[in-house]
Amino acid sequence: MSVRHALLAMLSEGPKYGLQLRQEFEARTGEVWPLNIGQVYSTLQRLERDGLIEPDDAADDGPQKGFRITAAGEQELASWLRTPLDLSLPPRDELVIKILVAWQLPGVDVREVIQTHRRYLVELMQQWTRLKEDQAQSGLGFALAVDAELFRLDSVMRWLDTADSRFRHAGTGPPVPAVPAMPRPRRRATVRP
């Protein structure tokens, strides 16, 4: 989970308090992902339990507890940064299921279902683009976070465009009775850092 690793990354720069970690996390991710302080403390507890961070004894005695990263934590962080995410198995995507179901359902115009989703996606993308436009000076972190969201929505949009075009060429005849099984990509046994 990446909040855990994001906190580790910030602690690798030097000992920090919980509140400070939350502020830095939000600043670095362009404040697109607000983080609850409770989530920060529970994540810090788990990191401490796993031996990846430890209390910072050098910190002044005060109401806030400081933490620093351990050698095991440094190792975990280095390994996380260099390990690609496991994207080998397609996620169970509700939209894909919905379109496949709509295609097979008598009396349903699958292209109309597709268009409803396209309009919704473009409206969402307009909102993100407007934020990008209004907050051109908000910094690189914000721009990158918004770009990530736009590319994610755009990929869904492209799939819908492709589906629409395939249905258009296939005509609106009766649905094919059986859907061939989707080939499962082979899963790599391990991913080397």
Binding site: W33, R119, E123, M125, Q126, R130, L150, D154
Partner: protein
């Protein structure tokens, strides 16, 4: 006020079995200061819509009004003047004249319109300056990058007092950062009161528009509601960002 109005536009190419209905009864109105994107797949009729809006092609039926003037009632010369003075075009492949410098490309439409060479050059240079291309003014198109060429094409399209900007896939083969800067220029032109229509199949490009109109098989089938960016960053909203 509508700068562009399409009323019941249809366009048919060919006859008999070879007949293709490119547009069917299309209505579209674009106000001053508005950026409208027309989205659709290849062959949906979106480029035909743009060429008819820009008076580069005649509709089979229906009316086109630019700033309230009905194109079908204009003489050839009046239409040519309208195209030169009021409408700016941006094409996917830039369409810059290779033998002219960036500045000459931008000032050419003004000179064709009777503005003196010296004044046209000054206005052209100012337009290039505004788009951050002042130091590239004396370069030829083949000495510019794709992004720079498209900015020159946009400077040419907005130079003078154009009221309507028509763009066909304006970010063409540019990467996403360059595509963004092209769209920022179009948005800035709209903030100055220009009405713009962009046709594209690219949702990221279309998402810069105030309104996105969807075209399918020559018909407008749908359009977006006005964007509300405030709703996005509210935690717990269904439209909020994806969580880690």
């Amino acid at each position: 006020m509508s700068v562009l109005e399409l009323r019941g536009i249809s366009k048919v190419y060919g006859q008999g079995p070879a007949e293709v209905q490119a547009l069917r009864d299309v209505d579209l109105s674009v106000d001053a200061g508005a950026l409208v994107a027309v989205m659709g797949p290849s062959g949906s009729g979106k480029s035909t819509l743009l060429t008819i809006a820009g008076s580069l092609e005649e509709p089979t039926s229906g009316q086109v009004l630019v700033e309230g003037a009905m194109l079908s009632k204009m003489s050839r010369n009046d239409k040519a003047r309208l195209r030169r003075q009021s409408i700016g075009y941006v094409f996917q492949d830039f369409n810059l004249l290779p033998g002219l410098t960036a500045a000459e490309n931008v000032s050419l439409p003004l000179e064709l319109d009777g503005v003196g060479a010296r004044k046209a050059r000054a206005v052209g240079l100012a337009a290039l300056d505004e788009l951050g291309l002042g130091d590239q003014a004396s370069r030829f198109p083949d000495q510019l990058s794709g992004g720079e060429r498209q900015r020159v094409a946009i400077a040419r399209a907005v130079v003078g007092d154009r009221r309507l900007l028509l763009a066909d896939e304006p970010s063409g083969a540019l990467d996403s950062a360059n595509g963004d800067s092209v769209m920022r220029l179009l948005v800035a032109a709209c903030h100055r009161g220009v009405a713009a229509v962009v046709v594209t199949h690219d949702a990221q490009l279309a998402s810069w528009a105030d309104r996105v109109v969807f075209i399918r098989d020559g018909r407008i089938v749908d359009q977006t509601s006005p964007p509300d960016p405030e709703s996005l960053l509210e935690p717990g909203q269904p439209s909020g960002p994806s969580r880690w």
